[in-house]
Subunit: 257 residues, 2 copies
């Protein structure tokens, strides 16, 4: 694979677009399935179909990684699995901590996709003393007092936050202070982090609301009126009327710190 003898390949034009990075796991999953069926090669068309994307997009994505295909044939499945795994950093072990062992935290701890692909649940952490020592997914839950030590002892750089929103920021701060530089946030809160720390958020409520928007749009196209009474709305600018202080709070529940 003569891609030019770059003696310092570390920073070699890693211009892999973010959008491409986000799709690599998708390709990897499809390729892994093919690999298990011992399929030796796959064309961009087939793989794109399996991954649910456009074949041109897939080829362009792969072009950022290098020329790993063979014209007239396709891509070697095993080789591509390796290349993508390496590019994503999955050939090494990533210890991960999950903070907040409620329903969601427990679900993640049990999630198979976690354990595979180089991710290892190094610790489950919860602020509730009653949780400490409990076994979840075969791992003993530890109290959050020892968070810093757990992080440094295990060399953890990725943290998953599944706490109630009220404490998410302080948990985040502690994680970052302890050395975590990547955070996957499930709490419905905007996290503020220093430069150099990556945060990705997964927000179930937001996803649902986006679906609702499109759903309403579909319904509106069919029964095109119904929502015509825009006059029956609150005054555009007026005194804040706290009478309708609905229980609209998004917050699931407050939690013991």
């Amino acid at each position: 694979m003569a891609t030019g003898r770059t003696h310092r390949p570390a920073t070699r034009s890693r211009g892999i677009p973010e959008a491409t990075v986000a799709r690599l796991p998708l390709y990897l999953r499809a390729l892994t399935a093919l690999s298990e069926r011992s399929v030796p090669t796959v064309s961009s068309e087939e793989l794109a179909a399996a991954a649910g994307v456009n074949s041109a997009k897939l080829r362009k994505d792969f072009s950022y990684l290098g020329s790993y295909g063979t014209r007239g044939v396709g891509y070697d499945v095993e080789y591509l699995v390796y290349q993508i795994s390496r590019e994503l950093g999955l050939t090494q072990d990533w210890p991960v901590v999950i903070v907040g062992i409620g329903n969601l935290g427990a679900a993640l701890a049990n999630y198979g996709g976690f354990a595979s692909r180089g991710f290892r649940v190094a610790a489950l952490i919860d602020a509730d003393p009653a949780m400490a020592g409990k076994q979840v997914a075969g791992i003993s839950v530890q109290h959050s007092d020892g968070l810093e030590k757990i992080i440094s002892d295990n060399g953890v750089s990725i943290g998953v936050i599944t706490t109630p929103p009220g404490v998410a920021q302080q948990v985040c701060d502690r994680l970052v202070a302890a050395g975590v530089t990547s955070i996957l946030n499930f709490a419905p809160t905007v996290l503020t982090v220093p430069d150099g720390v990556d945060v990705r958020k997964v927000d179930l409520s937001i996803e649902l609301q986006i679906l609702a928007f499109h759903e309403q749009r579909k319904a509106g196209e069919a029964g095109e009126e119904a929502a015509a009474n825009e006059s029956a709305v609150p005054a555009p600018v007026g005194p804040a009327d706290p009478t309708d202080q609905g229980p609209d709070g998004d917050v699931p529940a407050v939690m013991p710190a």
Copy 2:
């Protein structure tokens, strides 16, 4: 699918860009918090900070909804909450079914963000007969035999799939056939649906892999090598080596270099 000819004009709705729609729930959350503190008005700068976005972006987003602000003053919180809620379709009740009551499904059923904001868990459905009748989050789990009836009886248009990946597509097919037109998919699978059906996917494994990529990048810039042996890789084109067979659909696949 991919008939190609039917070029979908993306967001035909009200001209509201998809990117804006995805941020509206974020604004709504911040506004709700302000509303609970009885804050009457808020400037684009303040609200943007609370939502973690650029203020210019926020103003442009709102401009798609209409001119709801007052120059020199800002936005009326209550009024904006209403407008965004209406735009997102949250002023109506959305019955939702969750299919697959494993750890994750149970977590979602208990998730507070579900119940609020107009979403109502109409039913919990599982294929395991042993689950039927069990109470989860105060709701009795029903067997998947009655899926179609449940959907139509409750007028459900939004379905959440938290099943194992192997059955996700068939569950999806049944949901769609029964009348569901929006699906939130947590299973690590690419779902194929007819036109007119929206699918959003939440994939924990993918999020982690994206984080790992950036984490590796950071580490590479600091440690500046370690990934130097590009020669010790499998042959570019060779026989499929099925020595690394994994149980689940997620295999580590390749050994560390």
